[in-house]
């Protein structure tokens, strides 16, 4: 084979390869499913598997909050086995496995089954303490940030981080920046809009911004839920109640009455709201 034939052969193969690549590329979009639309390297690499990591990191944040005193999946399974399905998360009337770990260690571990079990507990975290004071709560934040990085569409991660940043660590700017990041990833989230409204009102006392944000939250709520049901009324009621409080505190009693009236329709205890409405109506002539 001459040098010319080799060169021509290589050129032909190269042309064929480029042609095939151009033909295959648009078709491969369909084969790769959601990964073809991946907007980050993590999604491309892990696909939907990143959600598993995100949940793991979120649990890790809870583990840190309880200073490592936390039931493993085996402890939770044991609680479910011994106390019935569903009991594993509410052993002590708490909402999370970490909260269920309150009090004595026997609450989630049970009594030691054998000598190895008894010995092993000396090498595990046995004291249940919370991260409190000295801004130690900040220790959970890297995991929440990582969780949001792995699954940006999980609103809970932004809300939890914002709560700790704003309420416990006094980092209002950081909380707002993180919530805005969450809003960019979840533009229709009524929860994030509501939290941004709380931040605007409770931390910055910016009534107009809070109003706009809660209006947006309400619109997002209706866009997501459509109609009010027994299961979804709490979140709407919360938006309206905060809006009503804002109007009350800024002296807009007419608007406050209007919002409290709507809250009354959603509340499981309308009589308490009715009392509040009566007080406001009494104040109304004075205000006018």
């Amino acid at each position: 084979m001459t040098g010319r034939t080799t060169t021509l052969g290589c050129a032909a193969l190269l042309t064929a390869a480029v042609g095939l690549a151009a033909w295959l590329e648009p078709r491969s979009e369909a084969w790769r499913g959601q990964r073809a639309r991946a907007d980050s390297l993590l999604w491309t690499l892990l696909g939907d598997g990143r959600r598993l990591f995100a949940n793991h990191f979120f649990v890790k944040a809870d583990v840190y909050l309880h200073s490592g005193y936390y039931p493993s999946i085996f402890d939770q399974a044991r609680a479910a086995y011994e106390h019935g399905v569903g009991e594993e998360l509410s052993m002590a009337g708490h909402d999370s496995p970490g909260e269920a770990a309150h009090g004595s260690e026997h609450e989630f571990r049970g009594a030691p089954r054998d000598w190895i079990d008894r010995l092993s507990r000396h090498f595990q975290v046995r004291e249940h303490t919370h991260l409190e004071g000295g801004q130690t709560e900040a220790e959970i934040l890297p995991w929440l940030r990582l969780a949001a990085e792995f699954d940006p569409h999980q609103e809970l991660f932004y809300l939890a981080a914002a709560y700790w940043l704003r309420s416990r660590l006094g980092k209002v700017d950081q909380a707002e920046a993180f919530l805005r990041r969450g809003l960019r990833a979840n533009p229709d989230s009524d929860e994030i809009l509501f939290e941004l409204g709380r931040l605007a009102w409770e931390s910055r006392r910016e009534a107009d911004r809070a109003r706009h944000l809660w209006n947006a939250a309400e619109r997002a709520w209706y866009a997501r839920n459509g109609a009010v049901h027994e299961t979804n009324r709490v979140s709407l009621s919360r938006i309206l109640a905060h809006r009503a409080q804002l109007e009350e505190q800024t002296g807009n009693l007419d608007a406050a009455i209007q919002f409290w009236t709507r809250v009354r329709e959603l509340s499981p205890r309308p009589e308490a709201i009715e009392q509040r409405l009566a007080t406001l109506r009494q104040r109304l002539p004075v205000a006018h």
Partner: protein, 259 residues
């Protein structure tokens, strides 16, 4: 005693001549320093996540060093045929097994001192060094746990055909023990009949390497382990290591060394 000490010293010298330790140490240091340079929410006081990352890397690196070094000891002697002049001297097979074991154990001990020293430096850098007593306990417990792993790898090197097979099997077994062994009694209690008995048997037979993992105590700044359980754990590891070495010696004694 002098014989197996001489054998052990050769193994220690071999470790610091090889690149494995240096590569793993640099990798651990690099990842730790990179993790430490990241700031979350403009807050520089977060140290626990960094402790977690560093300790995880130390555990992985130490396991790899221990298993890989132990797994190649006897096969390398056989492959290079240096086992024949060695056994032609007044050295018994038991002394070879013991010498190799102590050599790898001492070498991994030196590596651990370096790793935990680095961990301490990272703590000082982050202004949160943690409890020194707990740090020393963690180092000791880690080292005695590795004694069991090394004994297991030496036994494996006499049973499996290649060091790579032995290393893989050992790492999988040790990983499995660390993750699941402590919960086998819970699983056994939930299984009726023979399956439960089998799991219980396995639970008592397996060396509970997870006992020696006190990383959570270090990360979350809890008190050191009480002296009693600490000594019992040391004895527990010594018994398992001795048992595995005894079996290794028995297998080695019966093994024909083809020329």
């Amino acid at each position: 005693m002098r014989t197996w000490l001489a054998l052990a010293w050769v193994v220690v010298k071999e470790l610091y001549r090889r690149k494995d330790f240096y590569v793993l140490f640099v990798l651990t240091a690099l990842i730790t320093l990179l993790s430490g340079s990241v700031t979350f929410f403009e807050d520089t006081r977060m140290v626990r996540y960094l402790r977690e990352v560093t300790l995880l890397l130390i555990w992985v690196a130490a396991l790899v060093i221990a298993v890989v070094t132990a797994a190649r000891q006897i096969p390398a002697e056989r492959e290079s045929r240096t086992i024949f002049p060695l056994l032609a001297k007044p050295v018994t097979r038991g002394q070879v097994v013991l010498g190799k074991f102590f050599g790898v154990w001492l070498a991994t001990g030196l590596a651990l001192v370096m790793f935990y020293g680095f961990y301490l430096l990272v703590g000082v850098w982050q202004a949160a060094p943690g409890s020194l007593a707990l740090g020393l306990q963690a180092l000791w417990l880690h080292w005695v746990m590795l004694a069991v792993v090394i004994a297991m790898a030496i036994l494996g090197s006499l049973l499996f055909s290649a060091p790579s097979v032995n290393s893989t099997v050992c790492l999988v077994v040790v990983g499995g023990i660390l993750l699941v062994a402590g919960h086998l009694n819970t699983l056994a209690a939930a299984q009726p009949g023979w399956a439960g008995s089998l799991l219980y048997g396995l639970y008592f037979a397996l060396p509970h390497l997870e006992l020696f993992d006190v990383r959570d105590l270090m990360i979350h700044e809890h008190a050191p382990v009480a002296v009693g359980p600490f000594l019992v754990a040391t004895l527990y590891a010594a018994v398992y290591a001795a048992l595995l070495l005894l079996v290794a010696w028995w297998v080695f004694r019966r093994k024909a060394l083809s020329t």
